[in-house]
């Protein structure tokens, strides 16, 4: 059997040292996250969407930002996440965004660390996979509603692990309300349902108090329907996964020879090596629930391989197994987490929280990093009139900074612009046959593009005037 880290009586007297360690990890991650400037290209349209909902007092269910899809109905499945971002901004400006990011990264790091330390209390064995998974999560630290998934996924995993291994079945009651929240914060909530389903199926197969897990699964599925799209949200999530493969970098498969891909591969191979060395019985002895781990590792590893933005979720699942299985495969004795006095734990947590707050006060950037955006074009753009052809990545920025110019397209790619508008954009900027047609049909008078676009040279040859140009952008006007 796997080691029991603390008895119930012991827990009443103190706090697990592993919980304290998780708090330290969370504080460090949050302190680092709060120092990063906001720069995600999708942040701006999420903020604009949240602002629109706050100003109009209703959900945004149709396009109000583009001229190519104006009025078209759509649902982003993340209205609550957008509201949270907008409220954070209204409360504290860009620092508010920094703080929200830090808080969510901290929550995610805390529960990831708890999940890892729950399986492997020894810090020396727990730290490498934990840090590896944390490093990979950084690819989704952009200020978007997906941050909520980053926080909620480890949280639900930790709840389920606590219920399965420590007998804390009452915690399963938290799963349905979390799913209600998740289904309104971000469209990736089906991964949470998948987690619960894996635990429920494994408990049923192992005949190990399966009814609470089955009940939690049923309640979670029903709870996840409590969103504006109801059951359609699940279908929408599936459709999004199916349609958004090609054109958005983060939706493509990961490159295993890149940094995050390499870390993921290392975790995956460590999991495979440990499983080979331990076998089913060894896994059962070292970690417990031998059927649970393949149920978690195999589907989430394939999910990570399919879509690089899901790599963090795969690593969150892999890290606890690797932390527990590698030392067992090497013949190390299981460790226990010592207890620390509860008061000392609370005091330490307060100190850590204070340190994060101090870091936020001293080091949180007051302005976003706009180096990747055509900020220098804004004065000329605001003075110009006519339909604008803009880069995909700059759409959100323009929605917020130049609202007088509805965009051609923006980061709502799969929600709104696939396939028609995106095809038009690609055809025009990449000089595909008929590249002039979108310019004519959409009556494009302005083009804000990267200078390396082949279309820029064509437009210049056609006599379009340069209204503004700078590092990485050029704004052209039709004569």
């Amino acid at each position: 059997m796997r080691p029991v880290s603390a008895t119930t009586a012991g827990r009443a007297r103190g706090m697990r040292a592993s919980t304290l360690l998780a708090a330290v990890v969370a504080a460090l991650a949050a302190a680092f996250a709060v120092t990063l400037p906001a720069s995600d290209p999708d942040l701006f349209w999420h903020l604009a969407s949240g602002d629109w909902m706050l100003d109009h007092g209703r959900l945004l269910d149709h396009d109000v930002f583009s001229f190519t899809r104006a009025g078209a109905p759509y649902a982003s499945g993340q209205w609550l996440g957008q509201l949270a971002l907008a409220l954070a901004f209204r409360a504290g400006g860009w620092v508010g965004i920094d703080v929200l990011r830090a808080a969510l990264v901290g929550v995610g790091a805390f529960f990831l660390a708890r999940a890892v330390l729950r399986v492997q209390p020894h810090p020396a064995w727990a730290t490498p996979p934990l840090l590896a998974a944390l490093l990979v999560t950084k690819i989704v630290w952009g200020d978007r509603p997906q941050l909520f998934t980053l926080a909620l996924f480890p949280l639900v995993l930790d709840l389920l692990l606590a219920a399965r291994f420590d007998g804390r079945l009452r915690r399963l009651a938290l799963v349905p309300p979390l799913l209600v929240l998740w289904a309104n914060l971000h469209g990736a909530f089906p991964v949470g349902l998948a987690l619960v389903a894996v635990f429920a199926i494994e408990a049923a197969l192992a005949r190990a108090r399966w009814r609470p897990f089955a009940l939690a699964l049923a309640a979670a599925v029903m709870a996840s329907q409590l969103n504006p799209a109801s059951g359609g949200a699940l279908g929408w999530a599936a459709a999004y996964a199916a349609t958004s493969a090609g054109f958005i970098v983060e939706e493509r498969p990961p490159d295993i020879l890149s940094g995050p891909g390499l870390v993921f591969a290392a975790l995956l191979l460590a999991a495979l090596a440990s499983a080979l060395a331990l076998g089913r019985e060894g896994i059962g002895r070292a970690l417990g629930a031998p059927l649970l781990w393949p149920g978690l590792v195999v589907p989430f590893a394939l999910l990570g391989l399919a879509i690089q933005r899901q790599l963090p979720l795969a690593c969150v699942v892999l890290a606890p197994f690797v932390a527990g299985a590698v030392p067992a495969a090497l013949g190390r004795a299981p460790a226990c987490s010592p207890l620390v006095p509860r008061r000392l734990g609370v005091l330490a947590a307060l100190v850590l929280a204070g340190a994060v707050v101090a870091t936020a006060a001293l080091a949180a950037p007051r302005t976003p990093d706009l180096s990747g955006y055509p900020a220098g074009a804004l004065p000329a753009l605001r003075a110009a009139r006519g339909n604008l052809l803009n880069e995909y990545d700059w759409g959100g920025f323009l929605i917020r900074e130049a609202p007088e110019h509805p965009v051609f397209l923006d980061g709502r790619g799969a929600l709104l612009y696939v396939p028609g508008v995106l095809d038009e954009f690609e055809r025009a900027v990449r000089l595909r046959p008929g590249f002039r047609a979108p310019l004519v049909e959409r009556d494009i008078r302005l083009a804000l593009l990267r200078p390396e676009r082949p279309l820029v040279e064509v437009l210049r040859d056609d006599g379009w005037r340069t209204l503004a140009s700078g590092d990485g952008f050029v704004l052209l006007e039709r004569p």
Partner: protein, 451 residues
């Protein structure tokens, strides 16, 4: 003992037959054949004569024997000869994969075939008329030898050395064989104290054998480069996409390997020594995915849950003979009815008559090999050999094809006089937009004069 060969030969024969239904059509086959012809005419150490951008540059010789074998097949039987040799290699590859699986599950032949199926289906994507296919067959044989060596066969272990020597001259993938042999020998060295010298000698001999090529140590350059810096813009070197067909088959093999590792009894260290490095390699590029499916076939076969039915009686030598005869008949029948000409649907065959002679043509990368073979008087700008063009030439090619800023400067500086491109290529669209002269056109190509 020979009876075990019956099923592999039979399955190999079936898939060899299936492969004869497909005409020669790989975009690289033509430059491979031309290279072999050039090798026979001028020997090693010659400079490039196929391109005008890398003319005289030293040519890589890392797959000279593979190229010669395919060229020999072409000399012997024209394009049907190439199909026949490819079918033979496909049959050998499939038979070896099934044999490895059957070695691991002698009493359940169906389970063995099922375990081999992901590898067999995935190998369809590398069943091309190139030395690469021979590399996969060598790998499948290495898996058989290493696993038999693990079970105590000294002959199998020693046989890896000549295999590596052969492989190193057939294709650059030999490096994987050397690494795996080294790891397997290290595992044996740790496990079997009595045979430590044998393992050490085999590992060293395998490495030395890999140097027995015209390029010597330089033969390791290409595999090292492709492993660490795969040219992602080339389809077969792209990242693995488990939502596309080859990726789905790969995902099945990977998922089965992972799942069975978790739910089966602990595996011997030798399994990990074989599977882990191959699993990592397979994750790096589409082209590498079949390696995992091949290596994992015996692992999956040994652990695949199977109904408790009485085991099949072992097959005798007559069964092997029958299997071999059926395989031969399938191969012969397939070759006799195989397409006699290559499938040139993907190439600008219609442009050949109007192609100008001498330097100055910039053609699609994928068409370079075709032009080398069919229009030898018109040297190419780039072609599928890739390495002679890495850096400046490939960058310039991409700039022109995308009509990216500076494309006309490249044309002027390089002295490009003709473009042979697809109608949807941005440079074709732009050239037509500029009113440049079209010398020849069809649905899938344009030959455009550069003013």
């Amino acid at each position: 003992m020979t009876g075990v060969l019956a099923l592999p030969l039979l399955v190999g024969g079936v898939f060899a037959f299936v492969s004869t239904r497909v005409a020669v059509r790989d975009s690289d086959v033509f430059w491979q054949l031309a290279t072999a012809r050039d090798l026979l005419a001028r020997g090693f150490g010659r400079g490039d004569t196929f391109s005008w951008t890398a003319a005289g540059a030293p040519l890589a010789s890392d797959q000279w024997l593979g190229q010669l074998l395919f060229y020999g097949a072409w000399l012997a039987g024209s394009w049907q000869g190439v199909v026949a040799f490819r079918a033979l290699a496909v049959g050998a590859l499939v038979a070896l994969v099934v044999l490895a699986a059957l070695d691991a599950r002698r009493d359940r032949p169906l389970a063995a075939v099922l375990a081999a199926l992901p590898a067999i289906l995935l190998s369809r994507f590398v069943s091309v008329e190139r030395p690469e296919l021979l590399g996969f067959a060598c790998f499948a044989l290495l898996v058989v030898l290493l696993r038999r060596g693990r079970r105590g066969s000294g002959r199998a272990l020693v046989a890896t050395v000549p295999l590596i020597a052969l492989w190193a001259n057939l294709h650059g993938s030999f490096a994987l064989g050397v690494v795996l042999t080294g790891i397997a020998c290290a595992e044996g060295w740790l496990r079997d104290r009595a045979r430590r010298r044998v393992y050490l000698a085999v590992a060293l001999a395998a490495f030395v054998a890999s140097l027995a090529t015209p390029a010597g140590l330089g033969g390791w350059t290409a595999p090292g480069f492709h492993f660490t810096q795969p040219p992602r813009e080339i389809q077969e070197w792209a990242v693995v996409d488990v939502r596309a067909l080859p990726g789905i088959l790969y995902a099945v093999a990977l998922a089965a390997t992972l799942a069975l590792a978790f739910v089966s009894p602990r595996a011997p260290l030798a399994d990990a020594a074989l599977l882990l490095p191959v699993a990592f390699l397979s994750l790096t590029a589409v082209r590498q995915t079949p390696y995992l499916a091949i290596a994992a076939a015996p692992f999956i076969a040994a652990r695949l849950p199977w109904p408790r039915v009485p085991p099949s009686p072992p097959a005798g030598p007559r069964a092997a003979l029958a299997g071999g005869l059926v395989a031969l008949a399938l191969l012969a029948g397939g070759v006799a009815t195989a397409p006699a000409e290559p499938d040139l649907a993907g190439f600008p065959a219609g442009a050949l008559a109007t192609l100008p002679e001498g330097p100055g043509l910039l053609a699609q990368y994928d068409w370079g090999g075709f032009l080398i073979w069919y229009a030898p008087r018109t040297p190419v700008f780039v072609d599928g050999r890739l390495t002679p063009y890495l850096g400046t030439t490939l960058g310039e090619y991409r700039t022109v094809l995308a009509a990216a800023p500076g494309w006309r400067e490249v044309l002027a500086r390089r002295g490009v006089r003709w473009l042979l491109v697809r109608p949807a290529d941005p440079v074709a669209v732009r050239a037509l937009d500029l009113g440049w002269t079209v010398r020849s056109r069809a649905e899938d190509y344009l030959l455009i004069g550069v003013p």
